[in-house]
């Protein structure tokens, strides 16, 4: 088990549906204990990648390893997998349902019931324990699914678009639980197309666009390296101080200007020049690049929110090719 530092590792993985490459020579690693975000627009290959990790699809080329070995059933039961296509057994009672999901992953029924009750209480669903799943609202069903995903205390959580369909309050609840699992040492891999969410939660991000990996890095390092030097300023007075070798160009933005600095330039020099020139500086602010901008910068503006993307890979074509 502990023979590698990676919970998940993909090596040159390609998956074709018909002639189209759904995932194209993909290298990807999730180090143990990290929260890793798989980011990309709809149809970029996130779900296909996750299905290959879970052994539901098989790659046409390359290899997938889970905890350092083939993703066989024994290893997969150590994963808590919340698929994009979320289902429930409607006629089952909530507690029975989550207990059942624990049981097929090796948690005895008594233990499963105990944990299930604890989780239901934590998510405010105690009163629903003996109600049928079909009687719950969509949001509550999603919580039940989540409990089913984590009941067996997996070493790795794989969550495919876990936040979609949840209201902001429950998104926060879920985020907090994900953080708790992270604090306990659980490895977490989740896919999302919401950059803000990823920015808040992730330690690592993997950006994919159009079936290809664009970027795969530690988020903090990424941001540091991507900080191209953008300074937001507001001032009163003449603008002569904005002429200088450090400044590539000036962009007018709402309520002021963005100074785009040249590589290696020191913003401190500019600030000093401004103060000396006697202008009244109201704001001088180093701008962190947002994940969204980084993504656009690397994948091209067309890749984000493009409506021309094929949406959601359907299982059908997937299995037909993956037998």
């Amino acid at each position: 088990m502990g023979d590698t530092g990676f919970a998940v590792r993909l090596d040159g993985v390609t998956k074709r549906f018909g002639k189209r490459n759904a995932v194209d020579s993909f290298d990807f690693e999730v180090p143990r204990g990290t929260i890793c975000g798989l980011l990309g627009p709809n149809g970029s290959g996130k779900t296909t990648t996750i299905r290959m990790i879970m052994g539901i699809l098989h790659p046409d080329e390359g290899s997938v390893s889970l905890f350092g070995s083939d993703p066989d059933v024994t290893r997969r039961t150590k994963v808590g997998y919340l698929p994009e296509e979320r289902g429930v057994y409607k006629k089952m009672k909530c507690l029975e349902f989550v207990t059942f999901l624990g049981e097929i992953r090796g948690i005895r029924r008594g233990e499963g019931r105990k944990r299930g009750l604890e989780w239901l209480e934590r998510l405010g669903l105690t009163d629903w324990a003996d109600k049928r799943v079909e009687d719950l609202s969509k949001g509550m069903q999603q919580k039940i699914q989540f409990i089913g995903t984590v009941l067996h205390e997996p070493e790795l959580l794989i969550l495919d678009e876990p936040f979609s369909g949840l209201d902001p309050i429950n998104q926060d609840v879920l985020e907090e639980i994900v953080r708790d699992f992270h604090a306990k040492g659980t490895t977490i891999l989740f896919s999302t197309h919401l950059m803000d969410q990823a920015e808040r939660l992730c330690e690592r991000v993997c950006l994919i666009s159009d079936s290809k990996k664009v970027l795969d890095a530690d988020l903090r390092e990424l941001k540091a390296s991507e900080r191209k030097g953008v300074v937001a300023i507001e001032f009163e007075g003449p603008d002569a101080w904005l002429q200088g070798p450090e400044i590539d160009r000036v962009e007018a933005v709402k309520g002021g200007f963005h100074l785009i600095l040249r590589d290696g330039a020191d913003h401190q020099t500019i600030l000093r020049r401004g103060v000396q020139s006697g202008v009244r500086i109201l704001r001088f602010d180093l701008v962190e690049p947002r994940l969204h901008e980084i993504f656009v910068r690397h994948a091209g503006a067309g890749a984000v929110g493009s409506s021309g993307m094929p949406t959601g890979t359907k299982l059908g074509t997937a299995a037909a090719g993956g037998a």
Binding site: M54, Y89, E103, I104, T149, G316, A319, A320, A323
Partner: protein, 416 residues
């Protein structure tokens, strides 16, 4: 670990089904309601009509009373003979008015010649009772007349007898041919095998329609899921069959005598009870059901895995349905000539065995080795079907979209 998750699936299938309204309705209420429908009115009838069934029989012929008395008693009446005397009618009218008897029947010379008799009754008997009474009296008269000519009328009117002497000596120890048991049993087998095999198909579709398939298949082998589903539904079917058989047995052991005493016109049912299969046949019936269920459940599981909706599956199961219908079409021929080479051959084709071998066993003398062989063949067929269905299931369960064509299916089986 492996058995734990199979066990979890069995448990889930079993409990979900056994708790469903359908199961409770079909299993428990159906026999209860059926029994109640027959027994309750009969019970009340037996309370209300007790006095009405106390009959006096005035026999002017002196030969008819002893011939009709037994059959009247068998039909639920209490009878006593009154001697013919001048004012017997007036006396008996008075007794009927008092309520000490329910009525009286007059038999005289005319009865002997034409079968005509007169009944004085406080309540008009039901048409069926009238019919029973009429035929009893007419037959008694006919018997008497024929006996006068030296004919054993009773034996002849009972339908004569054909004694079979087995030349081969083989199988003579087996049950008497019982057409009804063979025929109805075959139909019942067809119904229950189909019913529960289709349940397995639906159960397979459940993961797809509920979109649980990814979660389940990522945690357990498809083969284990299929096994759990089949065993779960199988356990439900045995529960249901057991309840039905016990209810039926109870009906015949305690319900029927009560019924006949209350409703004499239903005495014919007593004959049915005698024709009921013995424990050996019941055991074979359950055996044929269990083996048949496993074969067809495997096939239906594979069909379920290929399809995406109940409607689609119903179409796709057609070829399998034909495999069950063929023996039902053949069953009459097989019952008529259970030892013919055709009947023997067909009954040893495993998918036909449950229905046709049952029909042969119930209707004639099938050598024990053939029965044993048929179970061995079915067991081998189950293994083969499990292998085949498991492979189709493995690929199909994750499949959505178009149903596979035959070449695609072949590829699934090859790579599965």
């Amino acid at each position: 670990m492996m058995w734990m998750n199979v066990w979890a699936v069995i448990r889930r299938e079993y409990l979900q089904r056994v708790r469903s309204k359908w199961f409770i309705g079909a299993t428990i209420l159906a026999p209860v309601i059926m029994t109640a429908l027959i027994v309750v009115p009969a019970y009340f009838a037996s309370e209300g009509e007790r006095s009405a069934r106390d009959l006096a029989i005035v026999d002017g012929t002196n030969v008819l009373y002893e011939r009709v008395a037994d059959e009247f008693v068998e039909g639920g009446w209490t009878v006593h003979e009154e001697r013919w005397r001048a004012d017997v009618v007036t006396e008996l009218r008075q007794a009927a008015a008092d309520g000490s008897i329910g009525g009286f029947v007059m038999l005289d010379q005319l009865t002997l010649e034409t079968g005509e008799a007169i009944m004085y009754a406080t309540d008009r008997p039901s048409p069926i009772r009238q019919l029973t009474m009429r035929s009893t009296i007419a037959r008694a008269a006919l018997e008497y007349q024929l006996e006068q000519r030296g004919v054993d009328a009773r034996a002849m009117l009972a339908g004569g007898e054909l004694r079979i002497e087995m030349l081969s000596g083989e199988g003579s120890q087996l049950d008497d041919p019982a057409f009804g048991v063979a025929y109805l049993g075959a139909f019942f087998l067809y119904m229950v095998i189909l019913l529960y095999a289709v349940s397995v198909m639906r159960a397979t579709l459940e993961e797809k329609t509920s979109r649980m398939v990814e979660v389940i298949i990522s945690s357990m082998k498809p083969w284990h899921l299929m096994l759990g589903k089949i065993l779960g539904v199988g356990a439900v079917s045995l529960t249901q069959l057991t309840i039905w058989l016990l209810a039926g047995a109870l009906m015949f052991v305690s319900g029927l005598p009560m019924l006949i005493s209350a409703r004499p016109e239903m005495a014919l049912l007593a004959g049915v009870a005698e024709a009921l299969p013995g424990p050996r046949l019941v055991l074979l019936f359950v055996g044929f059901f269990v083996f048949g269920f496993f074969m067809y459940a495997g096939l239906h599981a594979a069909v379920g895995a290929m399809c995406n909706s109940d409607e689609e599956a119903q179409q796709a199961q057609f070829p399998i349905l034909m495999l069950l219908v063929v023996p039902i079409i053949m069953v009459l021929n097989v019952i008529q000539d259970p030892m013919s080479p055709l009947a023997t051959g067909l009954s040893l084709f495993p998918l036909f065995t449950p229905i046709l071998m049952w029909a042969r066993v119930a209707s004639g003398a099938v050598p024990a080795w053939q029965i044993g062989l048929s179970f061995v063949i079915m067991a081998l067929a189950i293994v083969a079907i499990a292998w085949l269905a498991g492979r189709i299931y493995k690929v199909g369960i994750l499949m959505a979209g178009k149903r596979p064509t035959l070449p695609e299916l072949y590829r699934w089986i090859r790579v599965g």
